[in-house]
């Protein structure tokens, strides 16, 4: 009830000062709220570990995941090989560690890409309105009419054999997927940003800044963007989670990263047939890593969304 009152008191304050104060209050409350939640702490820890594994796998194991000895196929765990061996006789721990890389790198690249593309288009459409808005909104309609996974499958089938110059084998394996997923993934960010820009555009302090002669670019990036950020921020962990899932799905379908590269999706594909045939761990290990990673991002995203929008809790 006191917040209700504070709000009414604040209403009287000059608009130019009101905005940062409110936005800052929102974030301060959100962060205080987040710090108190054990799920957030645990999720963050998992995310940090996974990121470390994804970018610096050699810190976690000395074993070469591609040095395989078929005579040891499906051998159980032993000292130095905590997860045992794959059905091709490769060290399963090293494979699991190296399998994180493509997922992590791909999802970060895709999410960055969709934020840039979707964010830019969203700001332009929301800020200028009129035919710019119509153009971008129709484009969103077109891309949304092609179901995400189908579109991704289509593009990847079409362009999977392209050789890119100046790119190492590892990146070569994920770049087509990155581009494809950005092409079909920017629409949701664009719509979210567009909606909040339209909302922010009509706020009083924006009118005030406009009447004081602020340029369009300044209005967009100094005044409107900060307000449009909140809904996007909670989307980031959720999109990363989604993209890790999609990457695994694509590898599983044979469209993403392919052998001899290693990813959790491929490991799962290989391990499927052994699951009920005496070697369940081969499937359980990469699955558990995949699930824990995605879950950590999902929980973090949910927590941020709840913290920023407490009424939905």
């Amino acid at each position: 009830m006191s917040s209700d009152i504070n709000e009414r008191v604040v209403e009287g304050i000059d608009e130019e000062r009101e905005r940062p104060q409110r936005a800052a209050g929102l974030w301060r409350d959100a962060i205080r709220d987040l710090r108190k939640r054990p799920t957030v702490i645990i999720s963050l820890l998992i995310i940090l570990v996974v990121l470390a594994i994804g970018f610096f796998p050699s810190l976690f194991t000395d074993v070469d995941p591609k040095a395989c000895d078929i005579s040891r196929n499906k051998a159980p765990a032993e000292p130095g090989h905590p997860f045992g061996f794959s059905h091709e006789g490769c060290d399963y721990f090293a494979q699991t560690v190296y399998g994180a890389g493509p997922s992590v790198q791909l999802s970060l690249m895709v999410v960055t890409g969709t934020l840039i593309v979707g964010g830019l288009f969203g700001i332009l459409a929301g800020f200028y309105g009129g035919w710019v808005d119509v153009l971008f909104s129709r484009a969103v309609d077109v891309f949304n009419s092609i179901p995400f996974l189908l579109g991704a499958i289509l593009l990847l089938t079409m362009f999977r054999d392209i050789q890119m110059p100046f790119v190492g084998a590892r990146l070569q394996a994920i770049i087509p997927a990155v581009i494809t997923l950005i092409i079909f993934g920017w629409t949701s960010t664009m719509r979210l940003v567009r909606a909040s820009v339209i909302e922010a555009r009509n706020l009083d302090y924006v009118h005030a800044a406009r009447s004081l002669g602020a340029s369009n670019a300044r209005l967009m990036f100094r005044h409107i963007l900060p307000n449009a950020v909140a809904p996007v921020v909670s989307l980031i962990p959720l999109s990363i989670a989604g993209m890790i899932s999609v990457e695994a799905t694509l590898s599983f379908l044979g469209l993403g990263v392919r052998k001899p590269e290693i990813t959790w999706g491929l490991m799962i594909d290989d391990a499927t047939k052994w699951f009920v045939n005496g070697y369940p761990m081969l499937l359980i290990i990469p699955s558990a890593f995949l699930i824990a990673t995605v879950l950590a991002f999902v929980l973090l995203g949910d927590a941020i969304r709840d913290a920023l929008d407490p009424k939905l809790r």
Binding site: M1, S2, D4, I5, R8, V9, E11, G12
Partner: protein
């Protein structure tokens, strides 16, 4: 133009025979009502000790700052608080002697709309957007009176007519958003009056409306009230309206009734410093968002009400005793009571 509604005696027949019922008991009595909300920040005591009584044909105005517990009191009487988080922690609400708080949920439900009805502040959000006005009115007759859809619709048209909505027969099939603000509030009033209740609670019935429409709605309400000899509880911020239509007034502060008397006496010589401050601010009262500047300081946080008089931090008359001892609502002169240690001084002090 009004339509005579068929009355079944003086009441709708759901309360006789219930424990405590007396034909001659006051229409509605509220005694030491306490409502608390269990929130994440603790227990907020939104209403802590409200008393008043209402006779048939009487209009009781309830005034007080935003957050003083007026709406919560009204909802407690209706029995429509959301529990949890709300909890009625104590007190009695007697209708013709029957303590409503002791009734089963099913009995309580039948009293709503039949005996005690309510008009809400913002008719646009208080009417369901996906059903026609006719459906929402007719529903009362179908569910409480077992009427057919056709008869219920006919009654809905009559009701719209009664609240002076032109072309009622056509408009009955429209949706709430197709009505203007004033018309919507008329629909709300028609809905509350449909089953001919003895008590009508109107919670800021005109706040959401244009100034010009406000007067029309208030006139409609007081006409109907006089005609049907109803008890009307009028929650409002508009002291001008209070002076016009109300008989008695209850002033609330931080969940308690701090002054109670008839309107004329109170306005002539308020017995509580808070009432005094309120009266000083009349010209600006009806403007939303400015209410707070009217009296310096803020009301107490309801999760942590200090001992003593809740008004003490903002009170010009406050002495040490005010900060330690809570003044009870007690009689000052005949028919007037106030919750202030220095009520008689305040009343006779003519510094306004």
């Amino acid at each position: 133009m009004t339509v005579e509604l068929d009355r079944q005696g003086s009441h709708n027949g759901y309360v006789e025979g219930l424990p405590g019922y007396r034909d001659d008991a006051p229409l509605l009595e509220v005694e030491d009502l306490q409502v608390e909300f269990h929130t994440r920040d603790g227990v907020a005591r939104a209403v802590n000790g409200v008393d008043f009584s209402l006779r048939a044909g009487e209009t009781l105005a309830v005034v007080g700052e935003s957050g003083s517990g007026k709406s919560v009191t009204a909802q407690a009487i209706m029995g429509i608080l959301e529990e949890p988080p709300a909890r009625v922690a104590g007190g009695e609400i007697r209708f013709r002697g029957v303590d409503l708080l002791k009734l089963s949920a099913e009995r309580r439900r039948r009293i709503r709309a039949n005996h005690v009805a309510m008009v809400f502040q913002d008719a646009l959000s208080a009417l369901n957007p996906v059903w026609t006005v006719g459906f929402q009115l007719g529903e009362l007759f179908r569910k409480h009176r077992g009427m057919s859809r056709k008869d219920a619709r006919r009654r809905a048209v009559e009701l719209l007519d009664m609240v002076r909505i032109p072309a009622a027969a056509q408009r009955v099939d429209e949706y709430p958003h197709q009505f203007s603000g004033g018309m919507r509030q008329r629909v709300m009033i028609a809905m509350a009056l449909a089953l001919d209740p003895e008590v009508l609670i109107a919670d800021e019935p005109t706040t959401a409306l244009d100034v010009t429409v406000q007067a029309q709605i208030m006139r409609l309400l007081s006409d109907i009230q006089a005609e049907r000899h109803m008890g009307l509880i009028l929650i409002t911020h508009d002291l001008g309206v209070v002076a016009d239509v109300a008989d008695d007034i209850t002033v609330m502060y931080a969940g308690r009734a701090v002054e109670q008397a008839n309107v004329r006496d109170t306005f002539a010589s308020p017995a509580h410093p808070y009432t005094k401050a309120l009266l000083r601010s009349i010209p600006r009262l009806d403007v939303k968002g400015q209410r707070l500047e009217v009296i310096a300081g803020l009301p107490p946080v309801l999760t942590d009400i200090p001992p003593g008089c809740a008004f003490a931090p903002r009170c010009g008359y406050a002495q040490d005793v005010c900060r330690t001892e809570r003044p009870p609502l007690s009689t000052v002169t005949a028919g007037r009571s106030a919750a202030c240690h220095f009520a008689s001084e305040v009343m006779t002090d003519d510094v306004n």
